[in-house]
């Protein structure tokens, strides 16, 4: 698993890490059941705090992409197929773009209803 981060970017490091795991699942490079690299190895290699990596992993768990189990580390969730993940990534992009325009979540739901 290859992870790159740019410390000079405005995007938080944890979000940069999470985005790449999301991308790997969406592209099918990581599939359901695959194990992710131990957080300690990633943190040491990137020169970041281990909690930063763990924060990225728990965010992905909250999105339903990863399973975190004590002693077994992080694995890709059985339901995290490339298609489902790509769709989720599109939704995230939509919400981010809407926020930039000052729209609320309800506004976005309204928007989606209007186009479907």
């Amino acid at each position: 698993m290859l992870i790159r981060v740019d410390p000079s970017s405005r995007e938080p490091l944890a979000e940069q890490i999470a985005a790449q795991v999301r991308g790997a699942i969406a592209a099918g490079r990581l599939g359901p059941g695959d194990r992710l690299a131990p957080a300690r190895e990633l943190a040491e290699g990137l020169g970041v705090n281990m909690h930063t990596v763990l924060r990225a992993y728990s965010a992905l768990r909250d999105e339903g992409l990863l399973e975190l189990r004590r002693g077994r580390g992080a694995t890709v969730h059985a339901a995290a197929t490339p298609d489902a993940t790509r769709l989720r990534n599109l939704a995230t992009e939509l919400v981010t773009a809407a926020r930039r325009l000052g729209m609320s979540a309800d506004d976005v739901v309204e928007l989606v209803r209007s186009v479907s």
Binding site: M1, L2, R4, V5, D6, P7, P38, G45, V48
Partner: protein, 313 residues
Amino acid sequence: METLGRTRRVVALALVAVPFVVVGVALLTAGGLPDPVPTHWNIHGDVNGTMSRTAFSVMVLVVTGAAAVLAAGFVWAHEDDAVRRWGVQACAFTAYLMGGLSLGTVLLAAGVPAAPGVRLRWYVVPAALVAALGAPAVIHILWPVVPVRKPAAGASPRLDLAPGERAVYVATLRSRGMLALGVGCALVGVVLLLTADLMVGAVVLAATVALLALSRVTLRVDDGGVRLGFGPGVRVRVPMERIERAEVADIRPMAWGGWGYRARPGGRALVLRAGPGMVLDLSDGSRFAVTLDEPADAVALVNGLVGRRHETA
């Protein structure tokens, strides 16, 4: 050139077979060996160990014969010439030591009616040692010098990294074969500890630890270099400043000295199976290989880090 090298290797293998032939002829022709045959003497030259004549003959012929067969096996199976020569030399040492000592025994004991009457002469052990060390030395001189054929360069992708960007590659290499061997070894070791020799059991359990450490290895590439982690605490590092280039390669275990973690004159390798892997060219001319299911990302990252290092230096 190739045939000359072949002839030299055949002569070296024939040298390893000499003790088997000589001792075999000695056992057949030396009439009147006592039964049992003396096999051990104390410091004063008196017999304090014996073996039945049949057991002695079988043991001597099996050890010297197995050494000759094993030497041929090394040349046949291994692709690395240094490993072949080393294997043949080790077999020669064993064959000449065993052959020399037993030839001495046969010559001293021939015609003596009973084992206690056989006196050990002072020169037997030194002569066997000289033969055991001399044979590998002769093989060293005899062994053909083959120019190392540089393998065709494999794919060498490179990741473009921005100046401040950080990147890491982590892969866990698992080997079911090593795990199965380790578990088998553990069972044998425990049985040996309980039923037989403590020493042998301990050696087998030590092998278990080594095999289990090889069943799960963590590979990490970062700007410090390439690192292998075997179980808790054992690390092998290749610092980035020693790496010149990385490439994707097809790894044949016998070209790297076999399976496991191998260190040879030409380089080191972690070989858990045959197939794709990453090979690093190091600044001292040696190479470092590791089997890896999808080596492209790791190779690209090493090349990206090496390239950025050279550009900023």
